[in-house]
Symmetry: none
Subunit: 449 residues, 2 copies
């Protein structure tokens, strides 16, 4: 069973809008085990739309069309659909009444032009749009030697399309094309392991039949997508649960969460659950850790504050870093990182304090201390741990990765796990980099078990 997704609209071809409907619809089709084999976009042009529709029913069994359902002259989808497949347009009285009611709810009278949205190709099914004026359409088109193709037309407005896909289109695909399997999927979020490593570690894992894994890099994380197929939804759920348990067991602490929950949200939630508090002392990450944490709703329960200590004087005055250490070791050094963390912990009176100091780039490096050098420290009641890291990305990603390592340390400490060094790689060729441990700075003074 193959599908084609066809968007109609000049605005897409002018690049004014990023077409997010296609990825949404493709992902939804996967839930029904239907492969979106082709994506196309054509202009608000009769000839182009006709050609695209004919091609679509020749090469796909399900065609999802979006856009061109509005009331204006540019909106041609329904007209061209009827023409292309030799149907008359007929007025649907019930839809017309609903349209009038829709406008009445907003205290407005319906313009004559909107009547257009109540006309459909003869024999088509109308798909309700409870949140907009453009109803959708399902037209079944007979084909030689094959089952009829199903053409679904939906509005281009994402929220209307999302709802129509879930409430109107998906059930009809299931109802009309039984053969489809049931699919459940989830995302497991990992940090601190490269994509190829992840793949390798999971290769030998015994998974239930019908379960497939995919890998996705979303800098600085690498995610595992597990997809389970079965003859019923319950069975698919069961298989997915078993697969997730097996993956979590194999990867252990590397999995920090699943679904949409970010690392900072996990850290805030776990701090809150444990009744712990956090402060930050940032140099090279420049407030990014504080900003990530405070972007999480409810973070004020656990985050007391932070210092962005860019200038040396700020490190001394606000965090109590001894001037002599700055002179002796330099601002970008392990002792300074440790003193910053300890200073923040004392000043904010928190359980945890994170510190970063480094050279994010693009300039500012020396032979001794090159761009990408970074020290991170975590001060806790058990003492202070620190590491020297080295990243070979650009400024933005060096900072982002540093912030992620720091946050992950808090999570690991809360779980009683060792602070591991990140092995991060992206799937981008050339953007590959790994943090390198510096043996000299490896051990903290901490006494954690």
């Amino acid at each position: 069973m193959r599908a084609e997704i066809l968007s109609i609209g000049d605005e897409l071809l002018r690049g004014e809008i990023v077409d997010t409907n296609k990825s949404f619809l493709s992902e939804r089709l996967l839930h029904l085990d239907v492969e979106a084999r082709f994506h196309s976009t054509v202009a608000d042009d009769r000839a182009d739309i006709t050609e695209a529709l004919l091609r679509a029913v020749a090469r796909a069994d399900i065609v999802l069309v979006s856009g061109g359902l509005g009331p204006t002259r540019d909106d041609l989808t329904i007209e061209v659909l009827a023409e292309t497949f030799g149907r008359k347009l007929v007025l649907d009285g019930a839809v017309l009444t609903e349209l009038r009611a829709f406008f009445a709810r907003f205290g407005r009278e319906m313009a004559a032009i909107n009547e257009k949205q109540a006309w459909f190709p003869e024999g088509a099914e109308v798909l309700a749009n409870p949140i907009g004026t453009a109803p959708g359409t399902l037209l079944e088109v007979e084909r030689k030697d094959r089952e009829a193709a199903l053409i679904f037309c939906m509005p281009g407005v994402p929220r209307e399309l999302h709802r129509m896909m879930d409430e109107q289109v998906m059930p009809r695909i299931v109802q009309k094309r039984r053969a489809i399997a049931f699919v459940r999927a989830t995302l497991l979020r990992t940090f601190g392991i490269g994509e190829s490593n992840l793949d390798e570690r999971l290769r030998e894992l015994a998974l239930p039949p019908g379960v497939e894994l995919g890998f996705r890099t979303q800098f600085p994380d690498n995610h595992v997508r597990a997809v389970a197929r079965a003859a019923s939804l319950e069975e698919a759920d069961e298989k997915l649960r078993a697969a997730v348990a097996a993956i979590r067991e194999r990867l252990g602490v590397l999995v920090y969460g699943n679904g949409e929950e970010t690392l900072e949200a996990v850290v805030v939630r776990r701090l809150d659950e444990g009744g712990r508090t956090l402060a930050t002392a940032e140099s090279c990450t420049g407030g990014m850790i504080a900003e990530l944490v405070t972007a999480v709703p409810g973070s004020s329960a656990v985050f007391r504050g932070g210092v962005v200590a860019y200038a040396n004087e700020a490190k001394t005055a606000l965090l109590g870093v001894p001037e002599a250490w700055l002179a002796e070791h330099g601002a970008v050094s392990d002792p300074v990182a440790r003193a910053m963390a300890e200073g923040a912990r004392a000043r904010f009176g928190t359980d945890y304090a994170l510190a970063t100091t480094g050279i994010a780039g693009p300039t500012g490096g020396t032979a001794d201390k090159p761009v990408g050098l970074l020290y991170i420290a975590l001060a806790t009641a058990d003492g202070t741990e620190s590491r020297e890291l080295f990243f070979a990305f650009d400024r933005e990603r060096n900072r982002r990765l540093g912030a992620q390592v720091a946050l992950d340390w808090v999570r690991r400490h809360l779980l009683g796990e060792a602070l591991d060094l990140p092995r991060v790689s992206t799937s981008l060729p050339g953007a590959r980099s790994e943090a390198k441990p510096s043996e000299g700075h490896r051990s903290g003074t901490g006494t954690r078990a």
Copy 2:
């Protein structure tokens, strides 16, 4: 002159990635007055790619292909391109040497599999990729009765594709296809005025013939895009310059910059030019201002540091906000914002200090101090100015808008302009909001002219 944009990759068809390359490429083509007439996406499948390429050269004169240039078995673009148009693959020795050097820079040896990326269809031009391992390709394909079609293949990674499009592809289109009208465009970045207001203010403006304006909301900014078309590049440049001068004269200080330069980059540049320094004291923005500023390369010359004072104790201990004021006025109040700014200015020893305190949401509001309430203060050598603002967005956008207002104040002060209140609206219905001045807090103690 018509173009087709063709993406290749299973991950797009599975909906794992939103394809942003297409809108980028379409928009860039418009600069050359080339219309992207078709967008297509096909799988990593030989037959599908062949068919898509043949269709593209039949209906378009310029074909921009992205994806499938990697080193793995799934990456078929170059192979299928050569096959489809009857070319042999030939090894480019210079590219191979560069590839090896690329890996060496990261201290790694090139895997045998990567050699694949040095093979190209005979007669094709190689397009340099300075930031990745996949070079691009231009193949000219002869057609009956028409000019040859130009097929450009680029990597799918957005940042590599963006750079290759601008540096390699655009100049070649201009060079090989003179017929094109010459187009120059620029983006004028504004903050503090709504989109419809912007449109209204510019409607009566006398612009040179051939100049068109477009509006684009990019929260929290609104941008004006000016496009000039002419028979020569010089003439287009001249028209654009005249249009930009007229727009800048009409909008005055509302225009903060143009092109890609963000507000924070403008602020850092202007502080640097004026030899001034900045510090921050953030509560509700949680480090976002510091993070925006320090994301700008070279910001260490002007940014001394900041305090993220989430807890009351932090406001007192690190910024010297009197405990009595916190008790009397509450943490979210005008006096506290002012004390935070003054405390930061004194502690960091800077020319400017910005402070924010507010209730970003989604919870934490009271009848007295609702979600969206925000105080901003700017301390300078001239005294301290502050305002009460009210935003009706979600947490993320309330914070972002607050940070932008604060940064804009520094810019305005450096220009000797009044600190105006923002009039921000987005193009999304329902997300419209305007900052409301509170008369009671309007005047600062400052003595600026």
